[in-house]
C-alpha cells in the first residue's frame, strides 16, 4: 500500500520567513511584561505583522491606573539572586525596579507606557482579553486609548491564524 506524504509538501511550501506574530502577555510584573513588548516591537522592526494580546495581570501594562506602577517581583524570583526575606523588605521592589529601569533607559528601552504607545504607532494591534476584563470588572475606558479592542479567545485565534503565537 502506498501512502502520500502531505507533510513533506506542506513543509516545502513553508515560507522561509515569519510573516505574522501574535504575542500574549499574561504576567503583571516588570520582567513579565517587557519581553513581550520587546518581541512585538522587534517584530515590527523586521517588517513582521504583530498583534499583542494582554490577559490576566498582563493587562496592567495597558491599564491607565496601573501602567506607571509596574514593578519587578523581588519575592519568589530566583533570577534576582536575592534571599526571599530580603526581597520582602518594604521598598525593595521599588528600589530594584528603579535600578532596572535605569539600566534599560541606557539601552534606549522606553518605560512601559511609552513602549505600548510606540508599539501601537508601529501599526501593531493592541488587544485586551475579554475574560480577564470581565473578571477584573474593567471597561474599555480603563485602558489607554491605544487599545484597539477587547476580544474573546476565539477572536484572538481567528486573528492569529496563519502566524506564530508567542505566549509570555
Amino acid at each position: 500500500m502506498t501512502t502520500t506524504m502531505p507533510e513533506t509538501t506542506a513543509a516545502a511550501a513553508q515560507p522561509q520567513t515569519i510573516e505574522k506574530v501574535s504575542i500574549i502577555i499574561s504576567k503583571g510584573s516588570l520582567e513579565g511584561i517587557y519581553p513581550g513588548l520587546i518581541m512585538a516591537n522587534g517584530a515590527r522592526m523586521e517588517g513582521i505583522d504583530a498583534n499583542v494580546f494582554f490577559t490576566f495581570f498582563g493587562m496592567d501594562a495597558i491599564t491607565k491606573k496601573r501602567m506607571h506602577k509596574i514593578k519587578v517581583a523581588t519575592v519568589g524570583n530566583p533570577g534576582l539572586h536575592m534571599p526571599t526575606l530580603l526581597g520582602a523588605i518594604p521598598g525593595m521592589s521599588s528600589f530594584v525596579t528603579k535600578m532596572m529601569m535605569k539600566e534599560m533607559e541606557k539601552l534606549d528601552i522606553p518605560p512601559i507606557a511609552e513602549f505600548v504607545e510606540m508599539i501601537a504607532d508601529t501599526g501593531a494591534g493592541i488587544y485586551a482579553c475579554k475574560a480577564s476584563v470581565d473578571m477584573f470588572k474593567l471597561q474599555k475606558s480603563d485602558f489607554v486609548d491605544h487599545v484597539t479592542d477587547i476580544i474573546t479567545v476565539g477572536e484572538f485565534y481567528e486573528m492569529a491564524a496563519g502566524g506564530q503565537i508567542v505566549f509570555t
Binding site: 528601552i109 504607532d121 508601529t122
Partner: protein, 108 residues
Amino acid sequence: MTATTTMTIAGHEVDTDHEGYLQRPEQWNRDIALEIAQEVGIAALTERHWLVIEYMRNQFLAKGSAPSIRALGKESGVPMKELYQLFPKGPAKLAARIGGIPKPRGCI
C-alpha cells in the same frame, strides 16, 4: 557572518554583506540609494524618506552605530506612525540599507 562581497549597484562597485548592506559607507551615493530602494520595494524616495535616511546615516557616521528605532521616531523629524508608512518592511533596517550603512544590531 560579516563576509563581505563585492557587487555593482547603479554602476558603482561596493562592498556589501550577504544581505546587501554596504560595509563601507564612503562608497555610497544617492544613485546607489535609489537602486537599493527599488530593490526593497520603495518605488520613489520622497523628501520624508530622505530625512530618515540621512538621519540614520549621519548618526552612524557620528557615533559608529545606528540609532535605535525609539531615537529614530523621536529625533529624525518623522514620527513613528509615518516611519512605518514610509518603510513598511522596517524603518531602521531599510533606512540603513538604503543609506549605505551596515545593518543595525540593536533590539530596540
